[in-house]
Symmetry: C2
Subunit: 385 residues, 2 copies
């Protein structure tokens, strides 16, 4: 049996979050079948409705792509009537998600202690810039701030070059994904115990958690690593290399692949060179490896070498722009090139769901984004209000 | 009650995965309390045991930091006796994780169909380069290949500059996090239905899924976006700006913060300038905004401006290296600066767990990494073999 929903289709998520970290988390949960009711403020709704890029009618593609498939109701959490609606929603919810600054919900009378006492089974997930504890907890953060403070920018870019931001909002997205992990672990806990949990994820913490190799290098050497341009710090060859017309990436992650690479490039004589005998020695001589490889790669265009290396089983790939990436046969075959709709129903290209599950259909047409407050009547009727 | 384990402490994960995408997924699950039994090949174990950085004894800090807290048993899945052990483990497992090339497990007689028939409740998660389906499914990929093919490198770096890799392995890490989401959704499905699911996550798919704004820009304009150095594509000011001695990041994500920024910098007169009236108009004039801000910021050092902007509530931060990031009071207060041990028991600095849950302790001392096959005797005894 192939189901068209998802394994989380028994879960109701009430989502107060705005812009990216929280909304990205509920996007992932929605793709896994959860029902997301997005509660927005009446004056304009989610800030990201006003962040570009926009279509010709002024609808935000940014908002629509991250919030596809979510119901919308506008509630003023300071107005008594709207608070009644919100509280009726909470009484039915499995998870509450918010990404306000710590303290905001408590000031509204909706702190964890209050809600946990009232709804012991409710899971409450908070994604914030710095987390609910620690000296910086009250401060606001945005992606760029945690990318800078958390160290990822210090290892991204070229040696001696200007500061370089990771080109997507990995600060928000990583926090969103850790929030998903925390929420689903809390769902499992609730199944076992009946008890809701508070999930506290900080964007800054997420940046530390994804530094991986950079922390290990610092731990062992005592020296903070710097940026390395387009190569891996401890695997060689594992970088972008220039061909006659463009760069390609070659990732020969072990000795067998190094050997296959040399054979494919007609450089087999280098196998005997002790400087290139192990990954460790190749990484010591990474610049020399690049010089040797590029001397050969520079004699023909990228397409030639990619075909040749593909045939030899050496992991490699072109440097695609977003248009090229979305046009890859593999990306199309996996329904990662998907479509949704703007609030007015017009179509919008978007990314698909990267979590493929047996027994559940993975459709490339995704439910659309909603206009602010579009689902008020239906939700009020459902709540009997 | 504060528990010292985690909400997943009833789950046994049998982990065949190597290097990073799969091991990162089980690191996250282990931090949430799951028991991870890492099954490694007898000749050297996980490839990453041979990938640096190394300590003075040749132990990999890279391996140890990603595999802390996981039991190790060495099994040759082609040897009958070891297959018996593996199959006895599977009979008790909740989840099997692997990141081989698609087809490898089927050739060993452990394809999903076989295992699902034998162990209907077993969840099977496969993280691969390109996924289990589509024309590129049989190909190997490494982080660098999917960073290049998936488009993130095309939006990272500086306009006209050389190719730039994101300085951590976001290809692997993102796939690991989506694998966690899929596994935990499958755990929920199993609780509801008793049925195990197959979870298929591709590194390339994960790269498409995190492009967010870049896909939206391409969708609306038809033009693939390029790299923007250290600024956000559609929020301004949201970038790294030069002070007298160093760059800082300022993220004034809405009009109120823009106004507060101008007041703090004694540039209030600019509020009346229509070119800077809205986020959209500021983003059109992002270079001019940078020129204006840097003219002022260049008159004093970074520390001066950070203190001033912090006091004004404008999100900002220094460009920290990894040493500085790990030394932040906030990072220490949140136990994101943690410690584990190498297989020989010597200490290793590592990142902590970014998922904080009420009712569960978040300790900065993490169980250590294990030598290859260190847990064989205990595991065999447990299995009665």
């Amino acid at each position: 049996m192939t189901r068209t929903s998802g394994p989380l289709d028994d879960l109701l998520i009430v989502d107060l979050s705005r812009v990216l970290a929280g909304p990205y988390a509920t996007l992932v949960l929605g793709d896994l079948g959860a029902r997301i009711v997005k509660v927005e403020r009446p004056d304009g709704g989610d800030d990201s409705r006003a962040i570009g890029p926009f279509d010709a009618k002024g609808q935000s593609a940014y908002f629509a792509s991250v919030n596809r498939g979510k119901e919308s109701i506008a509630l003023d959490l300071k107005a008594p009537r709207d608070r009644d609606v919100f509280e009726a929603l909470l009484a039915r919810a499995d998870v509450l998600v918010e990404n306000y600054r710590p303290g905001t919900m408590a000031r509204l009378g909706y702190g964890w202690d209050v809600l946990h006492a009232r709804h012991p089974r409710l899971i409450y997930a908070a994604a914030s810039g710095f987390g609910q504890t620690g000296p910086d907890a009250p401060k606001a953060a945005y992606d760029m701030v945690v990318q800078a403070m958390g160290g990822i920018m210090s290892v991204t870019g070229h040696p001696g070059g200007p500061p370089t931001r990771v080109g997507t909002s990995v600060g928000d997205i990583t926090a969103g994904l850790f929030t998903v992990a925390g929420m689903l672990a809390a769902v499992h806990h609730r199944t076992r115990t009946g008890e809701g949990l508070f999930v506290d994820v900080a964007m800054l913490d997420g940046q530390i958690a994804i530094l991986e190799n950079a922390v290990a290098r610092y731990a062992v050497t005592g020296v903070a690593p710097g940026p390395l341009g387009a190569r891996h710090p401890s695997i060689t060859p594992f970088a972008a290399y220039a061909c006659a017309d463009a760069h390609i990436v070659i990732a020969a992650g072990n000795d067998a692949l190094w050997s296959a690479l040399l054979d494919a490039l007609d450089l087999s004589a280098l196998k005997a060179n002790p400087r290139f005998a192990t990954n460790a020695s190749r990484s010591e001589a990474a610049d020399t490896v690049a010089t040797v490889l590029e001397a050969r790669l520079g004699t023909a265009p990228a397409a030639h070498w990619l075909a040749l290396l593909d045939a030899a089983g050496v992991p490699c790939g072109p440097l695609n722009d977003v248009a090229q990436a979305l046009d890859l046969p593999q990306v199309r075959a996996r329904n990662m090139r998907a479509s949704t709709t703007f609030p007015d129903g017009s179509p919008l290209l978007c990314a698909g769901n990267p979590v493929k599950l047996s027994g559940y259909a993975d459709l490339p047409e995704k439910p659309g984004a909603r206009a602010l407050d579009a689902d008020r009547a239906a939700i009020l009727a459902e709540l009997g209000l």
